[in-house]
Symmetry: none
Subunit: 202 residues, 4 copies
């Protein structure tokens, strides 16, 4: 057994315990909501003592903040990890929608926590908007630029608005359709295809 493995087996490992709590928190917040979640349930899920929530996160609210931070980090990452560019507009549109579907599925717990927070906390809603405006939309606009250049989109296209619209469509399908309403995955695929095709219709 290597030293690293031994390290991993320690029963008193600050960071490991912190992570156990954080993951449990995201899971419980995602399914019960912040107010509906109890610290007891989170601690049980993590398999550690409830008191450690105070020790490591300064209470339930701190645990929520840490969860939201997690989400923000993931979102930032997903902006720089867009799928590779493709030549035609409808293929691009499809590829981006599909990656959103993928991302939302993968990150659905964090999404639930964040969206719920955005719903009930004015400030968080606004900071989510800011992120959309400063990060997500610009990254998408960058992708769509060349389709204006090659004439697939009109020269006077409002790229900023279009990329916002695309981002919201991504969330509409990936989050509302897939995560919240739990639409059949096949239907999700058909929706993505249908929308993409509609964009290339003459």
């Amino acid at each position: 057994m290597t030293k690293l493995e031994l390290q991993k087996k320690k029963t008193r490992d600050r960071e490991a315990t912190r992570q156990k709590l954080l993951h449990a928190a995201v899971k419980v917040f995602a399914t019960q909501g912040y107010e509906g979640a109890t610290t007891r349930a989170i601690a049980d899920e993590a398999g550690v003592a409830e008191a450690l929530i105070q020790r490591y996160f300064n209470g339930k609210q701190g645990l929520l903040n840490a969860s939201l931070k997690d989400f923000a980090d993931f979102e930032k990452l997903s902006c720089s990890n867009l799928p590779p560019p493709v030549p035609t507009l409808d293929a691009e549109w499809k590829s981006l929608l599909l990656s959103a579907v993928e991302n939302c599925a993968h990150n659905k717990q964090n999404l639930n926590v964040a969206m719920s927070q955005a719903t009930f906390d004015r400030n968080f809603g606004r900071s989510m908007a800011k992120f959309l405006e400063s990060n997500r939309a610009p990254a998408l606009a960058e992708r769509l630029k060349k389709h204006v250049a090659d004439g697939s989109l009109p020269a006077n296209t409002d790229l900023e608005a279009l990329s916002h619209g695309l981002a919201l469509t991504m969330l509409g399908i990936g989050y509302l359709g897939q995560v919240v309403m739990k639409l059949d995955p096949k239907m999700i695929q058909r929706i993505v295809t249908a929308l993409s095709k509609a964009y290339s219709s003459k």
Copy 2:
């Protein structure tokens, strides 16, 4: 005042109190969430005694159910109240998106309550999906049909999927963009315009 009139007045008062509570509940549930809302806050908002929640709605949960019923009724109504048809596809698209923006703005409290419920209650999420599939999407498909007929949309268009996609886009912009993220109304307009245009680009 006759005995009958007295009876009627009483009934009216009962109903008035019930409505006061229901409206207060929607407001408080919408801003605090179900778990975050207290029966005390709701009663205060309604200006009546807390105990009446038990009497009239059989408790907090009953009040939520009544609130959700309210939302469902509104949604059903909005399906039969779509804006008048317009000849071109992009105008149709724009008109539908705009009506969604309008609807969501008018109904944002109920939307918050319902979306939050859908997030944390598997069954409610599914019933929302069912409504989308059985009511909303068919109503939209009906609208798009003629644009297939006139060639604006390809003959092999998956109308069912496209109308689902449109419905989710409407929610993405009207609810997530407008209500949750509180995007600037001007930006919302630009988004609607940009998306609509993109769908008619050659």
Copy 3:
């Protein structure tokens, strides 16, 4: 049964419940100290639900404040209820010490609460001093004045200081000796007599 008696028997009587809690609190604070007392113990002692402490006193701290207010009221009263004046200095001294012993015995729970609070809360200690300076000592000085006039006390007696000293002696015997150390009542009497005599010795 008179209406008043019926009133007293009400099982839901705001003021009566408040008083039950307040008395229980003084008793428990007096025997366990503020920190040592639990709201559960106080509620049990009062025979009512713990939650009423929040309702009526805004929490444990509020209950303490109410208890201290009780004490302050009693103290104010006791200043205006000094024993009747007597002609000789040693009789006066004895009478005042005896009344202090009596008062402290009667009010020992409140005294415990207040003294403990004074010990650990700088501000309360100071406000107790202020009370001594502004109320208690002046009241005693008033009593001693005539003994300066009749020559029992020297003309240049520092009456302000002497009355402070008397007040502290009263507390030393009545509170520390009697309440805290629980000296034998007979010994308390002997102490009072001995001290009084010493003041008239030639």
Copy 4:
């Protein structure tokens, strides 16, 4: 360094740590009270790990016992360290009161801990009384004896009671007046002088 020296050093360190904890405990108990003090606060004040309280004192209660022992030792010492005798009764009285003021000021933390303990622990209150009766009062009586002999005090003076009264007066001024109420030091001096003079008035 020899093994023996190492051993000695270790012992010194052990003892030093114990003392650090003990002093920290007295300080924290004195300002927060026993129940209000947390082992964490004490350990922080001492600059050592919380767990050492268990090791060295067998828990928080043991730390309190050790603190009280400290106080008892000091008290015993102070009985044999009375100020030098003086010829006149009023000078004696003043000298003893002044020494009490001095002692209380020096020992105020221990006094706070002990008095608080006496207030809430019947047994400790009684053992304080026992100490008063067996040590403090006899020591004072010894001092006052000669003033009976020289006629400053009546022949039939109840010396035992008078010395008890003096001891309580000393605490009344030195502890209650000075430590608890934090009376102005100048006022304390005036009180001592006024009381002493009152004892020599004809």
